[in-house]
Symmetry: C3
Subunit: 466 residues, 3 copies
């Protein structure tokens, strides 16, 4: 039945990778990571010194609710969104859990070295914003997981995450710090990068005989409902995602409103296109589960700008249409002609809307004016300070576009590189006819049908009215 029996036993490899990497994390954290001044017991003194009037000014209270929402998106949102396959739900939610838990530690280090290294003592100082950024960084790798879902081993996923986080931190540094692009919701940095990273890896790991496991590529009624849990938590908390690290005050406020509106608009156009392009006008759960989120991706960069409520609606409107059409036309096309097998359709949910988001961000930035933003507002929103004091909106638009290109290049280049590594025959991935199946990596419970109904109800008789 299977072309070539493969050894999917990861009994030594997976534990070895987990233990070695976790030990490395402990050592590196010991050397490098400390609390920042807002999480350290010296906060009492810091507060006095800086004349901070109250504990409520601690960044914790500005960002912790958003952080928790983002955290839910990472673990429940991404995890359950991928449970739609009838027999890969354990792998979806379980491996998502594993790589996110590893990735966030590595992200704290990688992002710390680039962004929050305290040069006075050589330590990285972390606070709640670092946790959010680590979760963001992880999101990039979880997006990539969507493309290879069901086709890789957990060891491969760990490797993919290690490199993914590393590449992410570098591209993020280049885009945000060197190029000085703004990308609060990560349309470019997270979604474009993560999308192309995953698609390139999937291209490198192309399986010509994947149809051998086609019997497992669909969903069942209840697995689709589990996936809706993921969809809805992503959809509901996306305003927190896009506003989590924007400026205090109006920045967070505006980003949340824009995202809320873009997502609402996407739902209607997704439903419209899904119904229009199906026989009998029936809705397809794949579209409802995925395309309804495209607006949140596409509004990521511009959410903190003065995109205006109607602008957000327009972005969502277009993305719902494009993303759903992507599921209907582009995914099959890519599989057939480009040898890219994209299990979750991340091209339509992340890559393409991410690029749109980058473009929308560039245009919105280029069109910014003092009359709309106010003099101070313009400087604050685009951070035209320090070495970028002389920046102007039109130029900022160019920088945004440059940032988008860097994200695409890092995604494709990094994906091809990592794909090469993942093709080594040492990682314990499954054979073509064993894909999309939890069986190789999970102890599975007996089947539901095997509960003998006679045993379940044989005690009815002994329940008597008192």
């Amino acid at each position: 039945m299977c072309d070539r029996p493969k050894n999917t036993n990861v009994r030594l490899r997976l534990p070895a990778v987990c233990i070695v990497w976790q030990t490395a994390m402990i050592i590196l954290f010991g050397v490098f990571i400390r609390y920042n001044e807002e999480a350290d017991t010296h906060w009492v003194e810091y507060k006095k010194e800086k004349n901070i009037p109250s504990d409520i000014e601690n960044d914790f209270y500005f960002r912790y609710p958003s952080f928790q929402d983002v955290h839910v998106m990472i673990f429940v949102g991404f995890g359950f969104l991928m449970t739609f396959l009838k027999r890969y739900s354990f792998g979806a939610v379980g491996f998502n859990f594993l790589i996110a838990a590893f990735g966030l530690q590595w992200a704290l280090l990688m992002q710390g070295w680039f962004h929050s290294l305290d040069y006075t003592d050589g330590k990285i100082k972390i606070g709640v914003e670092s946790l959010i950024n680590a979760d963001f960084c992880v999101a990039g790798c979880l997006i990539a997981y969507g493309a290879v879902l069901g086709k890789v081993s957990p060891v491969q996923l760990m490797v993919m995450t290690l490199f993914g986080i590393t590449l992410f931190a570098v591209e993020e540094y280049i885009i945000l710090n060197l190029i000085h692009a703004r990308d609060a919701g990560g349309s470019m940095v997270i979604h474009t990068f993560g999308g192309y990273y995953g698609l390139s890896i999937s291209w490198m790991l192309y399986r010509p005989n994947l149809d051998q496991s086609s019997r497992l590529q669909g969903s069942v009624y209840h697995s689709d409902l589990f996936a809706m849990i993921g969809t809805l938590f992503l959809w509901m908390f996306w305003p927190s995602f896009n506003s989590a690290i924007t400026d205090h005050g109006d920045g967070q406020h505006r980003a949340a409103i824009n995202t809320y509106l873009a997502l609402a608009s996407t739902v209607l156009t997704t439903v419209a296109v899904s119904s229009l392009f199906q026989k009998h006008g029936k809705l397809d759960m794949v579209h409802i589960q995925n395309s309804t989120l495209a607006g949140g991706v596409a509004v990521g960069t511009a959410a903190e700008f003065m995109l205006m409520p109607y602008g957000s609606l327009i972005v969502g409107f277009c993305c719902g249409i494009l993303s759903t059409l992507g599921y209907i036309y582009i995914t099959p096309f890519m599989e057939k002609y480009m040898k890219i097998q994209d299990t979750c359709g991340i091209h339509n949910l992340h890559a393409m809307p991410g690029v749109i988001g980058g473009i929308v961000g560039a245009i919105t930035a280029a069109a910014a004016s003092e009359s709309v933003y106010g003099a101070e507002g313009l400087i604050n929103t685009f951070d035209f300070e320090g070495e970028f004091e002389n920046m102007v909106p039109t130029k900022q638009g160019g920088h945004q576009a440059a940032g988008l290109c860097v994200a695409i290049l890092f995604g494709i280049g990094g994906g091809i590189l990592v794909g090469f590594i993942l093709r080594l025959p040492i990682w314990g991935d499954a054979a073509d006819d064993n894909c999309f199946d939890d069986e190789p990596y999970w102890e599975l419970p007996e089947d539901e049908e095997s509960i003998p109904p006679v045993l379940q109800y044989n005690n009815h008789a002994i329940n008597k009215d008192v």
Copy 2:
């Protein structure tokens, strides 16, 4: 088998409605909706001008955590609560998603025209409180959806939502602004209105032969568990619902405490009545899923008042009993004798507890005194300011009662009106023997049983120890 084949194909109608209405939203938002001063980049200047000492005073930080909880209630809470039917879970969570996403946009406009129109420039200025109010407004329509669940087409739902939001905004304006009733948690404005609106529509759409689909009217084991996800998120976040738009400080604090207590009390009496009225004392999941929430509904109006912790417990105590008895006696009675088919029992969960909540609110308001509230507290809590400077508690109690009547009248009158429209034979609703079935409107996956077990486990042999 079916009396009269009906055309449930919505391939042109549903996309047309979605695209046209979303386009209308974009145009109206473009003309009318802008950010308010706390979400606009001019916040920096506004802050200085108004001597606001810190970004943390932005309303975003007072209300965003509550907003997110309310958002979860709308999409996961209402959506999953209705997944209990064995074969209508896609419709429950999917159509809930669709109409909520549309409704909140229309609500921002409708409520905006009544409540936050800036007369200097003719624009509606929105912020986080507007988002909460839009979600509230949507809740009224989702309640109504519960009565007609499984019996209407998505196009009908869109029409029902369009009118529902419109009616809601008008009755809310009359009750809160003209009558000056207080209703922070929406016992009257949301639950009473939404409940009677849905029941009246269901009455207008009475299906005498609905028993033809009785095979699909029950739950299965796992669909009941999915519904419990909805129940619990509604239950847990109800304190946020009732406190989301109350006064900063003690108002939000007190509303959360009162709701927490009322809900706890409801659980115990629901369990008691459910067990007492069933053969063998067994609990019924319908009661646990629904009646446990009645206390949150009934405490909605009075939650911000000095109801006192024991007062909240009493309200919850009574509502748990009444709501469960409603499921046991009133729902079958209404179906048999009043021709009201109430799929989710919204009469017992929303309409009746909503009326109780209105009455509790009127009594609590009438009994308010300076000795309990303090002089300033009384004025703040009941907003005895401006043109209502000379209001006194007893009179306020009368206004509350008047508000309740308006909510009932709008619910019944609006429901009958909209029911007439929905009876037009153009909306693509299903035949009687095709109700409670996702099949007419959703592409359904193959059945779970059809996975050949032999294929699932045929690769055991090739896993060898390394």
Copy 3:
């Protein structure tokens, strides 16, 4: 088939207990419980009097987001974590709901008498922190429920909760107030106590013939997924649990960071051990569902201290290993040789990690120094004020250890005592061959397989393109 038919009909007993206890709560709340000054309408005056500059300083805004996260952990987290059994999911989530709703009311009273009694008027004054503490108190009893899951009646659970909350409040008062141990995340007070309380009760209720219901002791594919919902919400919100009642500012901030890190580390070592100790290296869902949480338990006491990020990782590292080994070796050992049947393995998830947490707390406290904490930081963190002004870290370490002993003693002693009461043959518990079955206490829906597929799809033909 069953050795001795047992009467599981709770039709009179369960309603009686619920109604009587809820009535008692109303009376006691009427006599004792009022709002505290931050939730009372006198807040306006209080604010002026105390020169509090803004409503945002109300404790509500410091703690409400954490409270809501804790609330989700109690109801969805604990509730769904226990749904893993194939036919006891209603009992898991439903009885969890019942006893938590009762327990939190009783906890407000018990903890109130010990902690927030206002001696001027003899009233307990509650606010958002009281709600969090009540939820914490309930957590202890829900942990204990895990040990007896599927083997007790709801009436027994109510009794177990009544005594559990009472014992909890006393041991908490002794540990926190008399001994002056610190335990913000409740490693000792909640997890150690709750764990040993449950294990002792399970020991007292030992069922030698429990294997008669072994057919129901496993999971099915989708019940394992429902349990993952519980796992993930516990895992994600644990940082809020451990930081919910710590000091404003750096205290909450640091506790959240430490917990986030400890939990991440636990996931990797759990996966490693689970894979290493299974045939073929396959992962076991039991471990992923439970052991991944052990790090959050073990970091509970020390989370608010300067444990350092790497310290948190080390705690998580060890607990992942120990907890998973516990599931593999200790649980079967305890069942076979110690007559302790621990359905959910609470020994490995709560008792043992709780003890580790107590020890880590003692060591971290004893090692505290002014050079690390700062002079003021040391006093604030350990509350070396008032009568404990002359306390030093090393002595504090001893007090922490003493607190741990008290928690263990209360857990074991209380459990044995309550176990005696629960052995009375009046509570309606199920026979041995009827355990782990929802059938005795719940109206169950017909089985999923019984939907005739022909009925589901018989209307395909009538859907025609328009």
